[in-house]
């Protein structure tokens, strides 16, 4: 009983974070909540939904990539598993959305478990490349297979009225739907970062030998994080399917998606709870407005050049992303203040 209370407290409590961060976060939640009432045009609303989706993707990736320090470049496959599980089960059998979600999660987790052990024998760049290759294989298979619709993709049946069985709504409905998913995932991550696994992952990221000397099974710790990250990707994919009512390997399995997910967390600040949200807030509007602005004029790809530049700057200046810069400035001030006190 006490354990359950402790879990609930850890899930909702941000008490370990500075007051300013807590206030900013609540303000952010309020802003997102009232957003559909103040903004009525459809494009900004779509940007907002996409932002929440990527913030969610980023939070999930942050577990293995940020807290665990393992650069996983295969998250698109998990998004794809979730999206295809939902899309195919709904179109084939008319199964309710909420039944398809656990199926997607199951497929993503099972596949990840199968590839995890050989993959985690590799370290650093080799691990990153291995994850990339596995994801590419899946992308090719889904392009090639007939039963998944191949390159044509899958079109979900459009329901005449908004409904909760298939989670089909107007824009505002989707807004609150993804906002709910985002919040749930945020709370889960908030608990996880304070759990034993959260600490163990950071220990593994910082020094594997030291972690092992403290009784941590390094490989198993990474595998656990990898599986949870996979599950989170699948949930995002399921949402994508019912939101767009159309999927194909280009939009849910593609390497562009993988890179954008990893970048949300890395640009914002891997290994911090705010990083993925900040990263998504910066990159998603940039991505969508750039695409709208330039894409139509035959400049496709220029957004990726801009990303590459951002990545290079961040990698060179502050590997812990925007949040790392903020923390560094804050710490400097703190030390400054302490020094100032001493001298008086």
């Amino acid at each position: 009983m006490r354990a359950i209370v402790a879990v609930i407290k850890d899930t909702f409590s941000l008490a370990d974070l500075p007051l300013s961060e807590r206030i900013a976060f609540v303000a952010f939640l309020v802003f997102v909540f009232i957003f559909p009432w103040i903004v009525h045009s459809s494009y900004p609303r779509a940007v907002m939904i996409n932002f929440l989706l990527f913030a969610m993707y980023g939070l999930g990736w942050n577990l293995i990539g940020g807290y665990g320090g393992q650069v996983d470049l295969g998250q698109a496959k998990n998004v794809g598993f979730g999206a295809y599980a939902t899309a195919l089960m709904i179109t084939w059998w008319g199964v309710p959305f909420w039944v398809t979600v656990p199926v997607g999660i199951f497929i993503a987790v099972a596949e990840s478990l199968a590839v995890a052990y050989p993959m985690f024998r590799l370290r650093g760049h080799y691990f990153a490349i291995a994850t990339l290759c596995v994801a590419l294989v899946w992308q090719q298979l889904f392009l090639f297979w007939d039963w998944t619709g191949g390159a044509r993709g899958v079109e979900l049946p459009i329901k005449p009225t908004p409904n909760f069985t298939f989670m089909e709504f107007g824009t505002v409905g989707y807004h609150y739907f993804i906002f709910g998913l985002f919040t749930a995932q945020f709370l889960f991550m908030n608990w996880l970062r304070k759990s034993k696994l959260g600490y163990e992952l950071q220990a593994v990221r910082d020094n594997e030998d030291a972690a092992a000397s403290l009784g941590i099974n390094v490989t198993w710790t990474k595998v656990k994080a990898y599986l949870i990250t996979a599950a989170m990707g699948a949930v995002g994919g399921s949402f994508y399917a019912v939101y767009h009512l159309y999927i194909d390997p280009r939009c849910v399995m593609h390497i562009d998606l993988t890179i954008l997910i990893a970048m949300t967390a890395m640009v914002g600040g891997a290994g911090s709870i705010w990083g993925p949200i900040i990263g998504a807030a910066l990159l998603i509007p940039l991505d969508m407005y750039l695409a709208a602005l330039l894409g139509g004029k035959g400049f496709y790809g220029i957004d990726f050049i801009i990303y590459a530049l951002i990545i290079m700057v961040i990698a060179a200046r502050e590997p812990r992303g925007i949040w790392g810069i903020i923390e560094r400035i804050r710490r400097k001030r703190l030390i400054h203040a302490a020094g100032g006190q001493k001298s008086t």
Binding site: A3, A6, D10, K194, S195, K196, Y199, E200, Q202, A203, R205, D206, N207, D209, A210, A211, A212, S213, L214, G215, I216, N217, V218, G271
Partner: protein, 242 residues
């Protein structure tokens, strides 16, 4: 017998780093492991702690055959260690470093935190609890490693050159800390060190290694007089002089 090493060999591509090492360590004992550079002390630690698999030979701990067990299982069974080249978690605070040690025995964060608090007090690190290790001096970092190892509640603590790089005062302090810890925690210690005052003060028994072999064993005062031991050390100095 708490620890028993039997005919342990470790070979690195033809180099015998440990050759036929056998020794025992009783519960509650403090044993020093000395020998010139490259004698094989760290290698022996790594073989016991699961970082290297011995080429042949056996390691028993608490009656269990732990030969070749992975490091994390060795830690769980009750052997903690520190590293000659420090391996501290730089992005976690001192307190969190120690909490991770405590998580070895519990899944509960509050329990781990309380344990960390106790140990911070025991090794005199209360002031540094919220600091990040890279900001702290070497002597403190050495203490963090010690504290972290202690937090796993080991029966045997293996320290690989904890006093290296410390000044005489800091060395004295760490000796006091170790003696205090040993009294409070019911521990056995196996330690290597080049600082002779340190090893000779603290150990009840010393084992001397040279070129991968055990060449002597006994009470500190007597071992230091043995001809083989003097040769091993003088030989080293002589070679260095050249």
């Amino acid at each position: 017998m708490l620890l028993e090493v039997k005919n342990l060999h470790k070979e690195f591509g033809g180099v015998l780093a440990n050759a036929d090492i056998s020794f025992e360590l009783k519960a509650g004992e403090i044993v020093g492991l000395i020998g010139p550079n490259g004698a094989g002390k760290t290698t022996l630690f790594n073989c016991i702690a699961g970082y290297y698999k011995p080429t042949s030979g056996k390691v028993f701990f608490d009656g269990k055959d732990i030969t070749g067990w992975p490091a994390h299982r060795v830690a769980k069974v009750g052997i903690a260690r520190t590293f000659q080249v420090m391996k501290i978690m730089p992005t976690l605070t001192v307190e969190e470093n120690i909490m991770i040690g405590a998580f070895c025995r519990t899944g509960d964060r509050q329990v781990a935190r309380r344990e960390a608090q106790k140990i911070l007090e025991l090794v005199d690190l209360m002031q540094e609890a919220k600091a990040y290790p890279p900001e702290l001096p070497i002597a403190i970092q050495k203490r963090i490693e010690l504290a972290r190892a202690l937090a796993t509640r080991p029966k045997l603590l293996m320290l690989d050159e904890v006093a290296a790089g410390l000044n005489p005062l800091e060395t004295k302090e760490i000796i006091q800390t170790l003696q205090k810890i040993k009294k409070e925690r019911d521990l056995s210690l196996l330690l290597t060190e080049h600082v002779m005052e340190f090893i000779m003060t603290i150990s009840e028994r010393v084992i001397v290694m040279a070129a991968g072999r055990k060449i002597a064993e006994g009470v500190p005062g007597e071992v230091a007089k043995e001809k083989k031991v003097i040769e091993a050390y003088l030989g080293e100095k002589y070679a260095k002089g050249k």
